[in-house]
Subunit: 171 residues, 2 copies
Amino acid sequence: MRYLEDFRPGTVVELGAWTFTAEEIVAFARDYDPQPFHLDAAAGEASLFGGLAASGWHVACAWMRLWIDLQARETERALARGEEPPVPGPSPGFDDMRWTKPVLAGRTITYRSTLTGGRTTRSRPGWGILDSLNEGFDETGARVFHFTGHVMWPCRPPTATEPGADPDHPA
Amino acid sequence: MRYLEDFRPGTVVELGAWTFTAEEIVAFARDYDPQPFHLDAAAGEASLFGGLAASGWHVACAWMRLWIDLQARETERALARGEEPPVPGPSPGFDDMRWTKPVLAGRTITYRSTLTGGRTTRSRPGWGILDSLNEGFDETGARVFHFTGHVMWPCRPPTATEPGADPDHPA
């Protein structure tokens, strides 16, 4: 895993894929978005969507799960290398969330995150914010979902290997 | 229920409240956001949040559920009056989603939606888009969550009671 200073704008991270089964679409919708086109195939076919369609929040939550799973794999790899893995912080928010095509039952969506920028924060020393464009694509390559993400990320801590970081061994 | 033309900017709609139990916070996080501070009280206390905290997506999904429940109640009322209720369309997207305070286990969040504008669309005759500021507040009145929403909404259909709508009875 990397610190804020290690990320370069333009870096693309493949997050993996999520298949939206009819069962999971309906289960999510029953809890959080019980609209007819998310609950029933016939109602979906009669709607603007043309079929049983996943809630937009479900499509967003699948992105979140894949992103967290990626961080977990990165943490395991860092530990295997004997490194102390940074722990990402929370997200202050997201912008420009768009659902541009329906995600119908049975579709597999592939998610990608592209780093667009990183900055330190004055309010929380030791932390910065990473900005990213996050996208989901269907099997034809058509983009179905995207948003701009922000996440708090730890800065590289000062160590004795960095010039000036160790008062006993000034650069 | 009302058509696009019936909404006035500034109208405030109270959506109701949602209590985030520890059980539901953990269940949601296991499926979609398995970060330590969403899964475990001790990990939450050691985090920036200071306690077991609901996933931001969970806080957003509770808003969605309350909004849908409100539409269902409005539909029932319209049917009871003998009216044909309009059926809301999907959302093209959301903007400026912010989680400004953690929602810790046991907290009750009250949600409110304020209409900020409405417009017809050229691409889909008969439909318009309603814009709204959506907010969640904790028991102290502090705002914990907000975003700008957009939803497709049906325009009032032409009827014989409106001047010029019936070619046999022109105004």
